[in-house]
């Protein structure tokens, strides 16, 4: 049986907002962590002298 979800805009908007906020709460710390780790690795490479600036 295929569910029939003929709900109004108000209901779908609420559930959509819920989904968007949950996805953001999941993704945002991961993006932030990736950024911090990239900075830290760059810092470590600079310290050990193994840093190569590919843009130069």
């Amino acid at each position: 049986m295929i569910p029939q979800f003929n709900y109004a805009f108000y209901i779908w908007s609420s559930y959509g907002l819920f989904a968007a906020i949950m996805v953001w709460q999941f993704l945002q710390p991961r993006i932030q962590r990736r950024k911090i780790l990239a900075e830290l690795r760059e810092q470590e490479a600079l310290k050990s002298g193994g840093y190569h600036d590919t843009g130069a």
Binding site: Y10, I21, Q25, R33
Partner: protein, 251 residues
């Protein structure tokens, strides 16, 4: 003996590498628990539960609005307890956890306000009213944003956390105001439907998705808060040896 073990475990949590390991270990399980409970909860909320005899399908917004509201308040209480511990015992990991509660709590408060507004339009005929419950909830959102702003405003993160922790404790006064606003004042917002003590005014067939969504949002809060706390700790300790060891693959 058990008390001693708990005391030792609590002290170990104060060690940054141990706390960092915890922030890496727990969130995947909490996120998995969230996904399972939320999926079952959403299925029940959208498909199984019958429409309300007065509100029709609009009442289904409750399954997002109420768990978000409960957790928005609980997040603040958790943040206040952590802030008090951080101020008294100066435990940095607790301080970091207190500060990590704010963005998640702010998101849940915003979700509660937005879904309340979306529910208010078809039920009350208005998106917003300056009534006691809605206004005090808006104040909660501003408090969360203020705490985040204050923490970010200081170059010395520990000083910023201490000042923000004081604001957290001052803002705690808003929590009973939110909770009792529907009893103290005549408001457009309805009174409590779910009671922990005494009989609930909600039909039992409508309760299971509410319980599941409430658990799901609590698990999400734990996971997101620990994710953020781990990031903050890593960022603060970027010059510490344990971070170098972690980067080298030796946690």
């Amino acid at each position: 003996m058990t008390f001693h073990r708990l005391k030792v475990a609590f002290h170990r949590l104060g060690s940054p590498p141990t706390f960092f390991r915890l922030t890496r270990l727990l969130p995947p399980w909490l996120w998995a628990g969230f996904a399972v409970t939320a999926l079952i909860g959403l299925y029940l909320a959208l498909y199984v539960v019958p429409p309300d005899y007065q509100q029709g399908d609009s009442f289904r917004i409750l399954y997002i609005h109420v768990p978000a509201a409960w957790q928005a308040l609980l997040s603040y209480v958790i943040m206040a307890v952590l802030a008090a511990i951080a101020l008294v015992w100066r435990i940095r990991s607790v301080e970091i956890m207190a500060m990590a509660c704010a963005p998640v709590g702010a998101a849940l408060t915003a979700l509660c306000l937005a879904t309340g507004s979306l529910w208010g339009k078809p039920m009350w005929g208005t998106w917003w009213a300056w009534d006691a419950r809605l206004t005090s909830m808006l104040v909660l959102l501003f408090l969360y944003l203020g705490i985040m702003g204050l923490y970010a405003a200081f170059e010395d993160r520990r000083k910023g956390a201490r000042v923000a922790c004081i604001l957290v404790l001052v803002g705690l006064v808003n929590i009973p105001i939110i909770h009792f606003s529907v009893e103290w004042w005549t408001t457009l917002h309805q009174g409590s439907t779910i009671r922990f003590f005494g009989e609930s005014r909600m039909h039992s067939s409508m309760l299971p998705p509410l319980v599941l969504m409430t658990i799901a949002i609590k698990l999400m809060f734990g996971a997101a808060m620990l994710n953020r706390a781990g990031n903050d700790l890593l960022d603060q300790d970027r010059r510490k040896k344990w971070v170098s060891r972690y980067l080298g693959g030796k946690p």
